[in-house]
């Protein structure tokens, strides 16, 4: 990060946050096929479980590709989730939920590589509001750590960790992408 100039940092932050807003638009307007194009073929998507544990312990979150999780998967499974929604008989999302993604507090954690093939890691807050049928409302709020890689056609999401601010998930299903 220290090698990044102030100007480059401003530009990067602008690019990355705009990318997040565009991604949110695709999800909120249910353009899932377009959304998939933003994902790196080797991407990992991880939403660990959160536990109430003493402050001095490091067991608050379950570990990626080791423990149980809300989601811990790669592109293939994510693509299946999209295909499932598009069957129009995935009843947890049929009729479709209304969802809005709010992404905020984005900071750059690291920038690696040369312009044109950079890899950036960011941390944001995410608030996903889901309303379903008539009075079913879910709030998915938490911290999101994203790794984006720069390629010929722009940025692709290579890694996403979502730390949800809930230990017991207060939603009956997790059928929205966070």
């Amino acid at each position: 990060m220290s090698t990044v100039s102030k100007l480059e940092e401003i530009e990067l932050l602008h690019d990355v946050t705009q990318w997040f807003y565009r991604e949110a638009d695709l999800l909120d307007y249910r353009e899932y096929a377009e959304w998939l194009k933003l994902l790196h073929p080797e991407m990992r998507y991880f939403i660990p479980l959160v536990r109430n544990v003493p402050r001095i312990r490091d067991t608050e979150f379950t570990r990626e590709q080791q423990d149980n999780a809300w989601m811990d998967e790669g592109y293939t499974t994510i693509e299946k989730r999209v295909k499932q929604i598009l069957t129009n008989i995935h009843w947890a999302e049929e009729p479709p939920s209304r969802a809005s993604h709010l992404i905020t507090n984005t900071v750059l954690l690291s920038v690696e590589g040369e312009k044109g093939s950079r890899e950036v890691q960011t941390r944001s807050r995410v608030f996903v509001y889901q309303n379903r049928i008539d009075d079913e409302v879910n709030h998915f709020v938490g911290k999101r750590i994203d790794t984006l890689v720069e390629g010929e056609n722009g940025w692709l999401l290579k890694h996403r960790t979502v730390h949800l601010d809930q230990s017991v998930l207060l939603a009956k299903a997790l059928t929205v992408f966070i």
Binding site: N68, W70, K80, R81, Q84, K172, A173
Partner: protein, 463 residues
């Protein structure tokens, strides 16, 4: 109270009133008559592997701490300070020598007793001074479940000292539970819990879940979307690669348990290739099958896909291999828990593939399970209306077609598609709701058919 129990569960017609899914008074009675009496799953031993380990759990609407004391003994303790009720342990898990209440400082050792270390600070602060040494600490330890049983790495408890022994409570359903808890090669208790327990709230009456898992093959249509997409660990469509040909529903009318599985056999069925997505993993299961064949020889063995131990624990024995528990929160809300199991001594890649598969299948984010939640939640919701609550659910599929099953005591079988096991579940529920003590419930004493072969289960020869 709404109608009498026998008008809510009309057994000879296969009818169940919607009242039992939404009524407050019935819910309160369930807590005292079902949850305060039955054997309930509380933990997996991997959660309390070392002395001093603890994990919080639930029994009905009560919060409990499952501990392993300094001598290695397992206790199930009510998670509330006996002095002023503060939730003693607000961590989900950990390791400790004592629990100290944040409110007034009463402290308890891992076996639930008030700490007896001499001095005025430990145990009950001010015991010698403010209490003048008069409070009898022995009387004020944590309230404990009088019955605790560690069974093949799972921990169970009952609040009722008169409950039958856990094995008697299971009856021959034990063999099906064993299938899930034993290794793929049949090695006893060869299971490991993948770290972490899924806990989520569902706006559903708790009974929809055990009913679903006790023998409802009919709802397969709910999962058409995941079947079309395919999460089959051998690739392709479908959500499993190991559904056997001989699958049927097997229920235990005197006990309330039931399973979708296979009747006992004395020769291992041919191996069905599975987990083909990873050849090395597939080889592990193939070899396990060979070892299983050798282990059981011409002895009796069973296998199963999914089942329910009355009242609120269900388990999957194959794909995915999991345990689910349904904790009542209110008539129209439950907290669902799910853990995943793998062979303890399996190679890491077998465990990894199983974990990935389990996660894609089960839990609120599971491609299969998320659709179940939708069914249970909106079936509960649409039973709330003044008119809708007054009508009955229909459970008459296969009514009167149950056949006695050989080699398992008190078991009946009723084919792949039937509501026999749901009827068994609600008949047992009715017995619990009516009974005033275990004297009326213990198999052989209750209003259900007699255990021990004195009176055969009604049998109708058919198909």
């Amino acid at each position: 109270m709404s109608k009498p129990i026998d008008e809510l569960i009309v057994q000879d017609k296969g009818l169940v009133s919607r009242e039992i899914f939404i009524d407050d008074d019935l819910f309160k009675r369930e807590l005292s008559h079902v949850f305060a009496r039955a054997w309930l799953w509380v933990a997996h031993e991997d959660q309390i592997a070392k002395n001093g380990d603890y994990v919080v759990s639930k029994m009905g609407t009560d919060n409990v701490i499952v501990t392993r004391d300094m001598e290695g003994k397992v206790h199930v303790l009510l998670n509330t300070c006996t002095h002023r009720g503060m939730r003693l342990c607000r961590n989900d898990m950990g390791n400790a020598r004592t629990f100290s209440c944040p409110y007034h400082g009463w402290s308890y050792s891992m076996d639930g007793r008030i700490v007896e270390t001499p001095g005025d600070l430990a145990g009950v602060p001010g015991h010698a001074t403010y209490y003048h040494g008069e409070l009898d600490k022995k009387d004020w330890g944590l309230v404990r479940a009088p019955r605790v049983r560690v069974y093949k790495r799972t921990v169970w408890a009952s609040w009722d000292p008169d409950a039958p022994d856990f094995e008697d409570y299971l009856g021959d359903m034990k063999e099906y539970l064993d299938f899930a808890l034993d290794g793929r090669d049949g090695s006893p208790g060869n299971n490991e819990m993948i770290g972490g327990i899924l806990k989520w709230r569902v706006p559903s009456n708790w009974k929809f879940a055990p009913e679903n898992f006790i023998g409802d093959n009919y709802h397969d249509i709910s999962h058409r979307s995941v079947d079309l997409v395919g999460i089959n660990p051998s690739g392709g469509s479908g959500r499993r690669d190991d559904v056997p040909d001989e699958e049927t529903t097997i229920g235990f009318p005197k006990l309330g348990h039931g399973v979708i599985g296979e009747p006992p056999v004395f020769e291992e069925p041919d191996y069905q290739e599975g987990w083909a997505g990873n050849p090395e993993v597939a080889e592990y299961y193939r070899q396990s099958h060979e070892r299983r064949k050798e282990r059981f020889g011409d002895g009796r063995r069973v296998s199963m896909t999914v089942g329910t131990i009355f009242p609120n624990m269900s388990f999957h024995g194959r794909q995915p291999r999991t345990i689910a528990v349904f904790h009542p929160i209110s008539p129209t809300e439950m907290e669902m828990w799910r853990i995943f199991l793998v062979d303890r001594d399996a190679p890491q890649e077998v465990k990894d593939m199983a974990r990935h598969y389990h996660l894609s299948y089960s839990g609120p984010g599971g491609l299969t399970e998320s659709d179940d939640m939708e069914n249970w939640a909106y079936a509960t919701d649409s039973s709330r209306g003044e008119i809708s609550r007054s009508i009955y659910f229909n459970y008459e599929m296969g009514l009167g077609h149950a056949r006695e099953l050989e080699h398992l005591e008190g078991a009946v079988e009723n084919g792949t598609f039937t509501e026999e096991n749901a009827r068994i579940f609600y008949a047992r529920w009715a017995e619990f709701m009516k009974a005033e003590s275990w004297d009326e419930l213990y198999p052989g004493k209750g209003p259900g058919p007699q255990r021990g072969g004195a009176e055969p289960t009604p049998v109708e020869e058919g198909e």
